[in-house]
């Protein structure tokens, strides 16, 4: 699907999508080294088209190696795409030079996963959070701005001169949030921001992100492998597998009725406290591991692990994203008819390729 580039007038008015990815592909060359057996290409992101609307949270979920972080890094142009286009705020940024990108950098920020390695241990909190102001020369009185920010993210403004090691994991992630938020960017990419935190602290950070979004109308791209966290924060969700978006749609639609068998398996695999140990919930256990992105399977990349694999179809034709209810789309020849479903029902279903509903 091709998206018509929105007019810049629309963007200035603050409507329309903030980020548009169009047929975006990123390959990494495997370098030939002493131990490498030859060159290969890692297909990290393959033909991804999606949009991020202003003020929404787009969740990207998938297992390790599915390309979710690469997609996010492309969005903020920390990486250059192999092909395809990235539009940010109406402007094509896919091939901009780093010099041309610099003024845009303040519009897009990242919160990283590991609050230990993403903060420079030799800089005080004040320096860390004040750095964006110093770089972009936007403030005269950096100190008071930083202290305001510290207070806003729930830290004591008097801790301005402390160093990262004096803080707990949750507090460090608050510092990370303050740094990303300092310049009031339009887009914040949250790359697994709570994965390294304890559950009780995780909720504090999620609530903080939510309240900042409500107050300042921020747009988030929220990356996580945790389906429960993604459900809690996202308006729309993209499910990725081996570099491709296999399903995308409004959060509620996607969780109430996943259409792609991979999404279905992911959802059923999440252990949940509600089952109380008594009700044996039907878990769809996928066999095997995610294949290597160096040599991805033909056609539908999920077919070697798919419970409803149809020989001669799934391994031959690449399924396009097809439309379901609302904006819900999934790339499958034999989409899941209803939900919940047991493993047997899932495997036996989908006898005929269905047309778009």
């Amino acid at each position: 699907m091709t998206m018509a580039p929105s007019t810049s007038a629309e963007h200035r008015a603050g409507h329309g999508p903030l980020v548009e990815l169009d047929h975006l592909t990123k390959n990494f060359a495997v370098k030939q080294g002493v131990f490498a057996h030859g060159k290969g290409i890692v297909h990290a992101v393959e033909d991804v088209s999606l949009t991020v609307n202003r003020g929404e949270t787009l969740g990207i979920v998938g297992e390790s190696g599915c390309g979710k972080s690469t997609t996010a890094r492309l969005m903020v142009r920390l990486l250059e795409p192999t092909s395809g286009t990235i539009r940010f705020d109406g402007e094509d940024i896919s091939t901009l030079s780093s010099r041309r990108l610099r003024p845009l950098r303040r519009e897009m920020q990242i919160i990283f996963q590991d609050p230990y390695s993403s903060l420079n241990p030799r800089k005080s909190v004040g320096q860390i959070i004040g750095e964006p102001f110093a770089i972009h020369r936007t403030e005269k009185d950096i100190k008071s701005r930083v202290q305001e920010l510290l207070a806003r993210v729930g830290l004591n403004p008097e801790h301005y001169n402390r160093y990262p090691h004096e803080f707990s994991g949750g507090q460090r992630q608050r510092i990370g949030v303050a740094r990303a938020f300092a310049l009031r960017p339009k887009l914040i990419v949250c790359d697994e921001p709570v994965s390294a935190l304890d559950v009780s602290v995780q909720a504090q950070i999620l609530n903080l992100l939510k309240s900042l979004q409500a107050e300042f109308g921020l747009t988030y791209v929220f990356i996580s492998h945790d389906l429960s966290v993604i459900r809690q924060v996202s308006d729309r969700i993209a499910v990725m597998y081996l570099g491709r978006v296999v399903e995308i749609g409004q959060s509620e639609l996607l969780y109430e009725h996943p259409r792609h068998p991979y999404t279905a398996a992911l959802l059923s695999a999440v252990p949940r406290p509600e089952s109380n140990g008594s009700t044996a919930r039907q878990r769809i256990v996928l066999s095997g591991d995610v294949p290597s992105p160096v040599d991805p399977p033909s056609a539908c990349v999920f077919h070697p692990r798919c419970p409803r694999f149809h020989r001669g179809k799934c391994d031959v034709d690449l399924p396009p994203l097809q439309q379901f209810e609302g904006e819900h789309q999934a790339a499958c020849h034999f989409p899941v008819e209803r939900w919940p479903m047991t493993a047997e029902e899932l495997a036996s279903g989908g006898t005929a390729p269905s047309a778009a509903a």
Partner: protein, 347 residues
């Protein structure tokens, strides 16, 4: 000490008043305080807690892996009647890996990168049995097959880097099973794995438990994992047991404010919660633990005596134990009125 089933025939492991202190340069760290629990055959005990709650130290104490030069371990760890804490290092070596074995969190760090997977398992076999190398190798292939490695005879010759994360964890489980242990301790066995692979490994542990009739201690921070796999749950905080009992009891009527806090702060895949209720503050420093109940600085329900006296684990009406001074009527009321509603549990 109220121990639920002291000395019944099926009790494999009976931990009584376990206390672990580390002497550090900065002072004494009280990692585990007065902890008691039992593990029975064919049963999974889920130990839940945040980082620093003492759950891993407990497992290391059971395995006898704490360096006695720095760690003071007191109390009793009775394995089939023998106190593991009184054994000599040589005697302990006989128990460790044979009667009690362990699966660690990071399977890559636990396999030697330069030895073949099969020979590492064979080494575990030969550590406790005087068998030939070829017999041990055959046994390791058999074990790899038992844990679901395809083409086990070929894959046994692989090096760890040729295995995926899930397969490495399977290999670790095979190694832990090498000598038919009675107790299997799994310390965060699925934390490093993806959800779909996690489901495979949890099923494997459950199958192994039934097939080999072992008692399993599953240590995790994920309440969902516990709810799905454990028959009993021990909730730890600041080195102490907060709540202990059958998992159905705890998930259908937790009595401790910390357990409520954990349940309420955890997002669920079932639905989007109206609000996530975080536990404010952060876990206590064990170097300088709070007085009284370790949870009191973060507890919404604290009152007069919470910062003075340490509550003991006490038997509750529902058949499980918890350590909190709140009157039990108040707790029941809170659970029914608020917590179960927030969680969407029909009660």
């Amino acid at each position: 000490m109220a121990s639920t089933a002291g000395g019944s025939a099926s009790t494999l492991l009976d931990v009584r008043n376990l206390t672990v202190r580390f002497r550090t340069r900065d002072g004494v760290v009280q990692a585990v305080s007065d902890l008691s629990f039992t593990v029975r055959r064919g049963e999974t005990l889920g130990v839940v807690g945040e980082s620093g709650s003492g759950k891993s130290v407990t497992s290391l104490a059971i395995m006898g892996l704490l360096n006695r030069n720095y760690a003071d371990v007191t109390g009793q760890i009775l394995f089939e009647g023998t106190d593991l804490l009184t054994l000599t290092p040589a005697q302990l070596r006989q128990v460790r890996g044979r009667d009690v074995s362990m699966i660690f969190q990071d399977p890559f760090a636990c396999l030697h990168p330069m030895y073949r997977v099969g020979s590492q398992i064979a080494e575990a076999v030969r550590a406790h049995n005087s068998v030939s190398k070829s017999t041990a190798w055959d046994r390791s292939v058999e074990l790899l097959r038992a844990v679901g490695i395809p083409n086990a005879d070929v894959r046994a010759k692989d090096f760890p880097h040729q295995f995926s994360g899930g397969m490495r964890q399977r290999a670790m489980i095979a190694m832990a099973l090498a000598n038919n242990p009675q107790v299997l301790i799994a310390d965060e066995p699925t934390t490093a794995l993806d959800v779909t692979v996690q489901a495979q490994i949890l099923e494997l542990i459950d199958r192994v438990k039934k097939q080999f009739d072992v008692g399993v201690i599953l240590i995790t921070h994920d309440l969902g994992v516990v709810a799905e796999t454990a028959s009993h749950v021990l909730v730890m905080y600041g080195g102490r047991a907060m709540e202990y009992g059958p998992s159905t009891e705890i998930f259908n009527g937790a009595q401790h404010p910390y357990a409520w806090g954990l349940l309420e702060s955890m997002p669920t895949v079932e639905r989007r919660m109206e609000v996530l209720v975080p536990i404010e503050g952060s876990p206590p420093s064990l170097l300088n633990p709070p007085s009284g109940c370790p949870f009191h600085p973060r507890c919404k329900y604290r009152f007069g005596r919470c910062d003075q006296d340490v509550p003991r684990l006490e038997q509750m009406a529902g058949g499980h134990l918890d350590s909190c001074f709140l009157p039990s009527e108040r707790k029941r009321e809170e659970w029914q009125k608020r917590i179960s509603r927030d969680l969407g549990v029909a009660s």
